[in-house]
């Protein structure tokens, strides 16, 4: 039960952004993803992905787990009050072109180790400088 409308707004704002919806969609089908994998999927600066992720964690939608230098994110399944909206989103997202493209991209990303992924990202200043990678 949410006593404050603001808590609900935190959740809603956390999912009403294209990149954050893409993160959620990715995690709906992959359980756990590293920050660097999400960075690679979105093709944004690592700091930007981190901002999105912490916003979603803050809203209670995601949880994270530290494993050495890597941090893995997953959907917060402990809060069962989120179940209905997650189910609704899953249904609404099914068939979306963006989701299909992301699924493809993710499968390629998952073939690369986090070490290699991060090394690649270190080499790039930002995604906007068109370089070939697992995603391009």
């Amino acid at each position: 039960m949410v006593l404050f409308m603001n808590d609900l707004l935190l959740i809603l704002k956390a999912i009403s952004d294209k990149n954050r919806l893409r993160i959620l969609s990715a995690l709906l089908s992959h359980q756990e993803l590293c920050a660097c994998q999400i960075t690679e999927l979105l093709q944004v600066a690592g700091a930007t992905a981190s901002r999105h992720l912490s916003l979603m964690v803050n809203a209670g939608i995601l949880k994270n787990r530290k494993n050495g230098r890597w941090i893995y994110f997953r959907i917060n399944t402990e809060d069962i009050s989120l179940d209905p909206i997650l189910k609704w989103l899953t249904h609404k997202l099914k068939g979306s072109g963006q989701v299909i493209k992301d699924e493809d991209a993710l499968n390629k990303i998952l073939l690369v180790s986090c070490e290699d992924l991060c090394r690649k990202q270190r080499g790039e200043t930002t995604c906007s400088k068109n370089q070939t990678g697992v995603n391009g």
Copy 2:
């Protein structure tokens, strides 16, 4: 089925704003409300309420009906794919202090005719100039 993530984002953005969530909450318990009643509830300029309402109509969440000079808004119950999220929102909003306050305010607003409500609103330039009214 939403083929474009953008359609879903339209819906999500339409409900991830405090004033729009208040509109939705009001319509979840009152079926149909006039633009001037919503303006009075939110205590914003008529133009501002109108903007919020048209955004929600555009997202497919609300429908409107013209009755003479008045325009009545209601939740779009024809799109049954919205049912799950409306139900979830209803549940999440239950007990919220803002919703309770709004419910009180609405009951007072509904005692006044739209004519009187609009006359009152015409007298005010904006809500910020503290005048006594059905809501204050």
